[in-house]
Amino acid sequence: MPKLNMVKALNLALFQAMERDADVLVLGEDVGVDGGVFRVTDDLQRKFGSQRVIDSPLAEAAIIGTAVGMALYGLKPVCEIQFSGFAFQCFHQIENHCARYRARSQGRFHIPMVIRMPYGGSVRALEHHSESEEQFYAHIPGLKMVIPSGPRNARALLAAAISDPDPVIFFEAKALYHAAKEEVPEESETVPLGRAQVAREGSALTLIAYGAMVRVALEAADVLRDEDGVDAEVIDLLTISPLDRDALVTSVKKTGRAVVVHEAPRSFGPGAEIAASIMDGAFLSLEAPVRRVAAHDVPFVGFAREKANIPDVPRVVAAARATLAF
């Protein structure tokens, strides 16, 4: 099996989907000749032509809006928004139309499209290039919200998202693009959307994370094992919405304690929904309140101060210790 980083793994998923199905199109800013600013769509235009890999004019609303039209016609567009921070300029198309067309037309139309966006911090980037906005999309009925945590699941999830009949918002952590290589099978592979995975088994505490924060949670689990002799379970959500509540409840019934980690600001973020779901399903098993380790409720802080804002291993370890000591 070849070892690929996440950029190459995503590229492989796109290539195979386009090879298999002539209805799959890629559009966005700089996705063609340039192969995308992160090179995720590298070489696709050369292989599939400029009608299928479209260097669109620079306008997020029309990228998503025209893709909605293509999807209404029966195509399967995969859009790239260059950075998730620019997606507010197409948020109305996503909320008003991507998410609603199935309901508005009572099933006559559906929107089988994927919107890929690089998200998240830790890459020394400017404002609008470092934020995490998954909570906005996870809140919208009719959308699915997916965030992979490594090359292999990124490839399998993107393949699943492209074949999904509903609109999928697909966030790619910039911090993970070149972070690690994994063995990725050449034959096509998908994992079902809406299913979390146990990234590490444990019994004392459940750490819940997704995207770039899975790595942080796993490292925190190492520290807890090495320094505290505690076995933490780590759950990788993979799909934020629809949320795999069963996986959370099953784990917390076993461990009795949970800490949620995310890069989005804390208030009204995914952590709140996750905590509520654990309360609903595993209240009698809880030994401590569910804690959240998240970015602070402040606007963009600049990368000089980013380290203090985005959850890191010491903060997760501290929250875990407080939860264990409760």
Partner: protein, 378 residues
């Protein structure tokens, strides 16, 4: 370094064929068969009579708020008449006359305006998008449909509708720009009815015409007398033929007037004068077209009466629709219901009484009516 004058071609045509005094430019008169002219008139009258009926239904609380068409029948029908069934129509929210022509059953539209999403479901063989309410956001969809048709090699044209207010929205400009760059078969039909709720055209744009905005995107733009169905038809025919031939998109500005309210929750006396409305009533698209048909001996007898009967039957069918089953709100969220949504559905099923038997009556109107809507039913 020179400072020279570039000279982009800047001309906007205005087209009028049959004016409000009945003068006809026979050189420009489209070659339409008598049967087509009758069909056009019939569809325009249906639009007008249904509109008037719907205002009464709304005042009686039998349907909710809607945006009346009155005055814009020629703009809508002159353009929609050029489409074939396999072409696509992308409406905004004031295209009742054109939507009925395109095949939406009257009772379905009534159902839609009575708060039932079932009314917004196009038939499987219908190439029509449902009503889009956020202004101008449907225009990129039209461009995407046209791109997809071109990509598949289908012989299809897309026609998209919007108003003068929509031309201030970013989506309008983005859609025209994408359409120009991609050179797709789409026709943009602006019904410039002079008022975006209370804001007149002169406060909407500093441009002399809306048609000229096309030129900035490298597309042809034409302004037509939007109350002259022959002129609208001629301009649309040309644009549709051009799109079909692979020669790209067109913007048509139909200069018309909203004779009625913006929606049934609106009171236009607050922002415009009776004299202005009376002046536009003199230019009523139906009056001049009727006179034209009369002169050509093409007017059908009792057409209004037959249309009223058709509307009355549709209203009866609408009112015998089954009451809304709340559980169906979960049917079309995703292809497959996620576990938590399934649980929400089950909780509702346990909470809600079984759907009442068909009584032939619609459920009572919303307890919080829009302004101008009565709570009680007749």
């Amino acid at each position: 370094m020179p400072r020279i004058t570039l000279e982009p071609r800047f001309q906007v045509e205005y087209l009028s064929i049959l004016d409000s005094d009945g003068n006809l430019d026979t050189a420009l008169e489209p070659k339409l068969a008598g049967e087509d002219l009758r069909a056009l008139y019939r569809a325009m009258v249906l639009g007008r009579r249904l509109d008037e009926r719907m205002v009464r239904l709304q005042r009686q609380g039998r349907i909710g708020t809607f945006a009346p068409t009155k005055g814009q029948e020629a703009s809508q029908m002159g353009s929609a008449f050029t489409l074939r069934r396999i072409d696509w129509m992308v409406p905004s929210f004031r295209e009742t006359a054109a939507m009925i022509w395109r095949g939406w059953p009257i009772e379905k539209l009534l159902l839609f305006f009575a708060g039932h999403l079932e009314g917004g479901q196009p038939a499987l063989d219908q190439h029509d998008l449902p009503i889009t309410i956020p202004v101008a956001t449907q225009l990129p969809h039209a461009v995407g449909l046209a791109y997809a048709a071109q990509y598949r090699g289908d012989d299809v044209v897309v026609m998209a509708y919007f108003g003068d207010g929509a031309t201030s929205e970013g989506d309008f400009h983005e859609a025209l720009n994408f359409a120009g760059v991609w050179h797709v078969p789409v026709v943009f039909v602006c019904q410039n009815n002079q008022w975006a709720i209370s804001v007149p055209l002169k406060k909407q744009t500093h441009s002399r015409t809306i048609a000229q905005k096309a030129l900035a995107y490298g597309l042809p733009g034409i302004q037509v007398d939007g109350n002259d169905v022959l002129a609208v038809y001629a301009a649309a025919r040309e644009a549709v033929d051009r799109a079909r031939a692979g020669d790209g998109p067109t913007l048509i500005e139909c200069v018309t007037y909203r004779l009625g309210v913006h929606t049934t929750a609106d009171d236009p006396t607050k922002y415009r004068t009776d004299e202005e409305v009376a002046m536009w009533e003199q230019k009523d698209p139906l009056t001049r077209f009727r006179a034209y048909l009369e002169k050509r001996n093409l007017l059908e007898a009792n057409v209004e009466q037959r249309i009223d009967e058709e509307i009355a039957e549709a209203v009866r069918r609408f009112e015998s629709a089954p009451p809304a089953d709340p559980l169906t709100m979960f049917d079309h969220v995703y292809a497959e219901l996620p576990a938590d949504l399934k649980a929400q559905r089950e909780a509702m099923a346990a909470r809600e009484p079984a759907a009442p038997a068909r009584t032939g009556e619609m459920p009572p109107p919303s307890p919080t009516p829009m302004r101008g809507q009565r709570l009680t039913r007749r």
